[in-house]
Symmetry: C2
Subunit: 107 residues, 2 copies
């Protein structure tokens, strides 16, 4: 893991956490939140795991690489779920999640 990859991954994780929190909240307020249930649930988990991954990367933890790998998997899952929904917050979140998955895999 180079320092550039590490900083890129931290920034991607933080951006992804914000995007997931925003998407979850917008989905919760949508006209049919029940149809967006899995999207909301994955968004919450993804936001929380992204925050922990950014923290361990910043600490240069010996567990950072393992967390990065897991974070990439959850981000990919979340991106896939978000991409299903046509709402603008979901489409935007799908892109941010996929970018974070790529950054975490590279870190």
């Amino acid at each position: 893991m180079t320092i550039v990859d590490q900083v890129t991954a931290i920034q991607a994780c933080n951006a992804c956490a914000v995007a997931c929190d925003s998407c979850a909240e917008a989905c919760r307020r949508a006209s049919d939140p029940q149809a967006l249930r899995r999207c909301i649930e994955l968004n919450r988990d993804c936001a929380d795991l992204c925050r922990l991954t950014a923290l361990l990367l910043a600490r240069e933890s010996e567990w950072a690489a393992i967390l990065c790998h897991l974070c990439a998997r959850l981000c990919s899952d979340c991106a896939e779920e978000c991409a299903i929904h046509r709402l603008p917050q979901c489409q935007e979140c799908a892109q941010t999640c996929q970018h974070c998955a790529d950054a975490c895999e590279a870190a």
Copy 2:
């Protein structure tokens, strides 16, 4: 994962987070904190991962089982490191971490 195993794991994760936070702080204030560096670092990571695992278990997240498995591994690592040190907070933390590892594996 039965509801009993789930509740047991949530309680073990929360107890482990507190024990790790306490151990890290006591080690930081010890006469030679440099000798306890890895113990402090693993304690911090373990506390944070335990809190996230408890959260995902409480949410009945589809990612809870994966987090539990990872948490058990980090708790075991942390227990092993703590057990090396003769300080009372480390010996107590080693036991709490091992209990949490077992509870997370069973969940």
